[in-house]
Symmetry: C2
Subunit: 171 residues, 2 copies
């Protein structure tokens, strides 16, 4: 996949906790030098775990799913547990997006088996001492690396994210 | 939907934190009087946030997705933010499952817009003072209530969970 300015959906905790927000802002800044970050608000220091003050939850949901559809790659910071991030990773897998999850093992947290054991997800570990530009470079390289083509299907699939995963599992 | 002994996928935080584990155990006990709980291990007091000691992450992932497929209803406790729970809610929506999310507002936490603003999810609030049997009864009533039939599609859909959600939105 070679896209001059890939559209990047950056996903990270909002309601789950904002203690890593400065790190999100640094990653977003570094990713913005490599593509168009659709979700730049995730790094804003004035965005608290109370969430956005403008749109209601249904509007946020509809907007985020729309951005997810537009994205070429999905980069999720998964160190802080978050319902929204887990939800978006699953939806992105169902849409056949390339998904890279960034995780800092230094926190001592265990990463969910639904992420770590997921054949549709690439997990990249990093440390808080690593330069955000290096993390962003590694994340984009992993997100844009060649992968097997998805098997085309001839019938409607009521749970299409599985077909992706089962394809990935075969590789 | 009338199923004598519905199969229930109960989803709750493991890696995200186990502080509510006694509550999960009480809910599982109450749900087990109304159906077959496929995921009884979620309530076990010896299950820490380090996760299960037997299967590896890929095995846990494959097993949980298999149980999710078998389930008639999905009941998720969403008070403690969790990547795995968010992931499973999205996958369950993609499979067309009935999903009820249980949330305790008394914690002061905000529930993710991807759950609260999600037309495929029913959110039920409860308090720690409510009897688990009453919570389970309300959850099962919400999970088995009539809902509009899904619109059938004539073309393969690469992101089928949307069609469900858009159907729900029309109702």
């Amino acid at each position: 996949m070679t896209i001059a300015r890939p559209r990047i959906y950056f996903s990270a905790s909002i309601s789950g906790g904002r203690e890593d927000a400065p790190g999100y802002a640094a990653l977003i800044g570094a990713l913005a030098r490599r593509g168009i970050v659709l979700t730049e608000h995730i790094g804003r220091p004035d965005l608290s775990d109370v969430g956005e003050s403008g749109p209601d939850d249904a509007e946020i949901y509809a907007r985020d799913i729309s951005w997810l559809r537009e994205a070429d790659v999905v980069i999720a910071e998964v160190t802080t547990p978050s319902l929204g991030v887990g939800y978006e990773v699953a939806r992105a897998a169902g849409m056949g997006k390339r998904i890279v999850c960034l995780f800092r093992p230094e926190t001592g947290r265990r990463l969910s088996a639904m992420i770590r054991g997921n054949p549709a997800v690439r997990v990249l570990e990093y440390g808080s001492g690593e330069h955000p530009d290096d993390v962003a470079r590694r994340a984009m390289a992993a997100a844009t690396a060649d992968r097997p083509q998805r098997v085309s299907r001839t019938e409607p699939d009521t749970d299409s994210s599985d077909s992706l995963e089962e394809t990935a599992r075969e590789s």
